[in-house]
Amino acid sequence: MINKKIGVLLLFALLISFGAKAQSATSMRINEVLVINEDNFVDDYGKRHGWIELFNSSAGTVNIAGCYLTDDKNNPMKYPIPKGDVLTQIQPRQHTLFWADGQPDRGTFHVNFILDPFKENYIALYDADGKTLIDEVTIPAGQLADISYGRVIDGKEEWAQLKKVTPSTNNLTLDSNDKIDNFRQNDSFGIGMTVTAMAVVFLGLFLLYIIFKQIGRLSISASKRNAQKAAGTTSISVDAGQESGELFAAIATALYEMSDDNHDIEHTVLTIHKVQRTYSPWSSKLYGLRQTPHK
């Protein structure tokens, strides 16, 4: 019994840990990098430096405090992201920016390394254990000034030099909703949507119908078998287990009426029931009464 409980607890802990993993720092992605910043975004000190944008690709808030940013493959724990800063909580599908100015004393979001404009730059994000690699990228050498290198679509695989520099915001912004445009252009009468959607609705409920038809058959045969076992015979009516609700309602009504007829309040009839009280010393009043106290 105890083993069972421990088993259930372990399973529960395992499930929780899987759930926790889904919204841990492993959902973070290095999303966009600007190596040469000549006439671009300025930091909170009014200075221009290269920057690294991280993106939370999950649907939950992620705290990146304790994780590490590095530009050195041999030193994964080069810049520990400080703990205790509320701004390290990254909202779902949101971004945050780290300044590669080599001046960590300027705040949480200023790393202790800079990006070299003359050679390729390796950047990696490690989890809080300093061993688990979350994401890494090598920015090719020869980057142009004020042109960032990033994922074409936030969090997705493909990297390129971006047409627009987009610090702390989406790399690809849409002027319209593709899905709606698609329906507007290709299904202006709504026939396609109707046919597709009704087919899916029918399919879903049809599958349910098929499954429950089979389950119903199994249930009926199971109830027949049970009835055979109970009766100790092999000849059971074909309709066993097929009793209608009406039948049960009729039986219930009959039982109700029978019990109703048993009452003793009837016109001109006096029913006398014998009152019986079985004696037991446990219910004797004698022992329940308080005795005259002895002084």
Partner: protein, 386 residues
Amino acid sequence: MQESFLTFLGENLQLFLTYTGVYNATPGHLIMILVGLLFIFLAIKYEFEPMLLIPIGFGILIGNIPFKDAGLQVGIYEQGSVLNILYQGVTSGWYPPLIFLGIGAMTDFSALISNPKLMLIGAAAQFGIFGAYIIALQMGFEPNQAGAIGIIGGADGPTAIFLSSKLAPNLMGAIAVSAYSYMALVPIIQPPFMRLLTTKKERLIRMKPPRAVSSTEKIIFPIVGLLLTCFLVPSGLPLLGMLFFGNLLKESGVTRRLAETARGPLIDTITILLGITVGASTQATQFLTLNSIKIFGLGALSFVIATCAGVLFVKLFNLILKDGNKINPLIGNAGVSAVPDSARISQVVGLEYDPTNYLLMHAMGPNVAGVIGSAVAAGILLGFLG
């Protein structure tokens, strides 16, 4: 001194006057207040869905008390106001799934399990949604708006609110009020079309009484139902997940307290909050537009299409069914969800033609299948247009 004091008083009174509802009232506010009063009247006098129409009707009164826009945080659209905080459940879409939890905990799927072919009627009635979608597109609505309007035909208030909050938040007030109004008016809308589309012989069809359903089947239903429908349409998960979860609470037999809370205090609380905030969201300034009128028209049409589709589908289905297994087409209307009102209408109309032919238990099958069908349809629309 005295004169300046009087001037001061006069100015203050004038200023106060500008804050009153009387000063800020517009014809729109008065029209909406009359609509609210009508809802309350219909609920009390004719008992049309009173659980919905009373909160919504009173909410309309609350939402249409005119006030000066002076940042007093009283209006439902003013961020941080009490009404606005309560309205979050509607805009963020978490009231409807909780209502579905309660619906699941109070729904007995036995009728459906004992005669699973009735599920197909619940599917057919969803034509109301897509019929309205097609017409809304022709009236110039965007596809996402048309989808949100079409869902009124599902006759399922929580689903309509859920989907419109995702697809067309600006139309949600009109869609919600329209959906709930027509659900209340189901006893008026459906019977004429049911009579029109059936012959007297069809109305007299007696259906086989449903068999007794074992508790194992009842337990399996929500589990299989969830897995099957949500694997097919994952976007329906919030509604279908909660619906089937509530039903499992009921049928498992070991979580009676949870089931009672879900179908009692929880659903009552959410119904109150949902009704009052949906009603209050119909502020005349936001609500009285040409689009709202169009939505009301489309809503009525979608109910008619859904009813007709359900009835006609049964007639069609009967062509392939053997004698003795035929379905009374009067239960076709119950495919629109509106639980249990539309099933009750099948019963009432059926009894008009044969006082011993009780259709209620049969009509409950397509009725609850309609709930599943409309949630699946909402999931599809959300998946395509969201």
